[in-house]
């Protein structure tokens, strides 16, 4: 079902959603000492939305899987213990103007959170969130979404997809929840044809990203399966500081720790916190033995998990090509370049 919505209509819609008490998350401008950046934020008015500009600096991960989330509270009284659910249930939320790479990530992580055991800590927020994406027109040199099965205008994970056109947007309602949203706020939408004058920038952006990286994911996967031991890992490992910034910035990295946070002798909270395979502590045994004892093996794990381990179990890859790990790395580690090298090595071997 496709509609169109004008610029002023979208602003009015966002303000109406906010007024109804629903949380709205959208890219907003943040002023820095030098320059500015766009950041997904909970916004208080449509005025705050910044739907175009540079690639959004953070991902949507913090909104579905907060960096630290309470699992339950405990109280001890002498020998007895009582447990109660942590306060703060997931609030209904609408994400507006999200990039394709960020919403695709949600669907990719869903699979991990839903195999065998259903992780309601993830799905509680996930299901309460309606996702309205906006076809991307701002790719930079670090973007490679088209190389990993996504693309600036890929709808994967969207309930509604917006595409820029003159004076407004096309709105494609793609899921039941997207259709329900469009009919609930029907006064702002008009019926439209599916490709009524889309902004040509969308197509140009796709073409630009396609020139950033072209690889054969299947060949890379089989190269990785055969090359757990390879000198390349040493080259990559030497650059890496093991800081984990790449994993925290990444929309698909989902590793976590579980820790108790006492608030006194008798009571406290058990929390789930972001963690990363890039630190030595992640795998160290109680005996002191560490099966992943150097940075080479840790950076290998990150690459393997994304391009070999996840694909073997769930299909696709654990990466949406958003380029954030490339932008944040202080060591100059560049996943886009790593993939180029792996692709070349895979080709040379076959």
């Amino acid at each position: 079902m496709t509609f169109s919505i004008s610029d002023s209509g979208l602003n009015a819609l966002v303000d109406e959603v906010i007024a109804s008490g629903t949380t709205v998350i959208a890219p907003a401008l943040v002023k820095l000492s030098a320059g500015e950046r766009r950041e997904y934020q909970k916004i208080g008015s449509a005025q705050k939305m910044a739907l175009t500009g540079a690639i959004v600096s953070n991902s949507l991960k913090p909104f579905i899987m907060p960096p630290s989330v309470p699992l339950f509270r405990y109280t001890r009284a002498k020998a007895a213990v009582s447990l109660e659910p942590a306060t703060g249930k997931a609030q209904a939320a609408v994400v507006i103007g999200a990039q394709a790479c960020d919403i695709a990530a949600l669907e990719i992580v869903d699979r991990v959170m839903d195999w065998d055991y259903h992780d309601e800590v993830w799905f509680e927020r996930r299901k309460a969130t309606t996702v309205i994406s906006l076809a991307c027109t701002q790719a930079d040199a670090s973007c490679f979404c088209t190389a990993v099965g996504s693309g600036p205008d890929h709808p994967r994970g969207s309930d509604i997809q917006l595409l820029r056109k003159k004076g407004g947007y096309l709105a494609r309602a793609l899921t039941e929840s997207g259709k329900a949203f469009c009919s609930k706020y029907g006064s702002h939408f008009e019926k439209a044809g599916d490709d009524a004058d889309r902004d040509p920038l969308i197509k140009e952006t796709r073409e630009k990203v396609e020139t950033n990286l072209k690889i054969d994911l299947g060949a890379i996967r089989s190269f990785l399966t055969r090359n757990f031991e390879h000198e390349l890992w040493n080259d990559f490992g030497l650059r890496c500081h093991g800081c984990g910034a790449c994993a925290f910035a990444c929309p698909t990295c989902h590793c976590f720790d579980i820790v108790d946070e006492p608030e006194g002798i008798t009571h406290g909270v058990r929390r789930r916190n972001w963690d990363t395979c890039q630190t030595a502590k992640f795998t160290v045994h109680a005996s002191g033995h560490n099966p992943r004892k150097d940075q080479n093996s840790r950076i290998r794990q990150r690459v393997m998990h994304k391009f070999q381990i996840y694909p073997e179990r769930f299909g696709d890859v654990l990466c949406t090509g958003c380029g954030r790990c490339v932008r944040v790395c202080a060591g100059g580690m560049n996943l886009l370049e790593i993939l180029k090298v792996l692709d070349k090595s895979a080709e040379a071997k076959s």
Binding site: L71, F72, Y74, R76, A79, A80, V81, L83, P85, V112, M113, W115, D116, Y117, H118, D119, E120, V121, F228, H254, C255, F256, D257, I258, V259, D260, P262, I265, G268, R270, R272, D275, C277, F282, T283, V284, H285, A286, S287, H289, P291, R292, S297, Q301, M304, H305, Q308, I309, E312, R313
Partner: protein, 276 residues
């Protein structure tokens, strides 16, 4: 209830095995759950002390003994120190059972050889009692157990009991220099004692658990004795947090140890990257 919320259990008994190793007997606080709870031998759980956190241990008691579970652990960090401070009657948390198990049914009708080192006897003990409680289903049972010193042997009362049974062949050993003057067992490292005991591989399975170095040197001995890699079972102890295939910590190659393990055959281990 969240998959991360433990069931409450009460400490029902404490046995100090060695100066740093302790066994806790635990019973479910909720009688309905106690009735319903079941597990398979080789599965593990996440044990909580509220305020100190969670840690991973195998269930050291056999599923053939109902109404309680036991864990044996070495004090080595935050959560294990917290567990160590518990007294009889205190409540703690348990999530589980998780992971796969030793295929004891598949082993029926033949011989079983148990090989363990140090605290590695904990998961093996669950299998041993499971087998001994259904003794008629198996042929020869051999147990080879070693520790650094006589003081480090765990489950001393059970070792005593097994040594007296006519239907169990028990070999106990301590590392050279670890013996006391009244020590009647063997002196030597586990792989050497396995070679000396030379259990028959015919229609037999082996279950082995202990420090990585012991496993590394025992596998070739078993191979020499004629045990094929798919009849030798062991259990891995990669660091874990969730036990549910979510947190990513126990991942080795394509395997999540918490979901696809912790029990693996020697043949499966040979196909894994050496990250355990």
């Amino acid at each position: 209830m969240s998959i991360y919320q433990p069931h409450l259990m009460r400490v029902d008994g404490i046995i100090d095995e060695t100066p740093d190793t302790r066994t806790l007997r635990l019973v479910f606080k909720d009688p309905a759950l106690a009735e319903k709870f079941d597990f398979k031998t080789g599965q593990f759980g996440e044990y909580s002390v509220f305020g100190a956190g969670e840690c991973t241990f195998c269930i050291a008691s056999p599923p053939t003994r109902k109404g309680y579970i036991e864990c044996s652990f070495k004090k080595c960090g935050k959560a294990t120190s917290g567990l160590r401070d518990l007294e009889v009657g205190d409540e703690m948390g348990f999530r589980g059972p998780y992971g796969n198990s030793f295929p004891v049914e598949q082993m029926e009708g033949g011989d079983i050889v148990f090989i363990a080192g140090g605290i590695g006897l904990a998961p093996v003990r669950s299998v041993i009692w499971n087998v001994l409680d259904r003794r008629e289903k198996y042929q020869n049972v051999t147990i080879i157990y070693g520790a650094r010193t006589t003081g480090d042997l765990v489950y001393k009362r059970e070792l005593e009991e097994w040594s007296r049974r006519a239907d169990v062949k028990l070999w106990q050993t301590v590392d050279p220099g670890g013996e006391t003057c009244d020590w009647k067992g063997q002196v030597g490292f586990v792989p050497a004692i396995v070679e000396k005991a030379a259990p028959s591989a015919k229609n037999a399975h082996a279950v082995i658990c202990g420090p990585p170095i012991m496993i590394k040197f025992t596998l070739p001995v078993l191979s020499k004795l004629g045990f094929s890699d798919d009849r030798v079972f062991t259990t891995l102890e990669n660091r874990m947090k969730c036990g549910l295939g979510k947190c990513g910590r126990c991942n080795i190659g394509e395997v999540y140890v918490c979901k696809d393990g912790p029990v693996f055959t020697a043949a499966q281990l040979k196909n894994l990257p050496p990250e355990y």
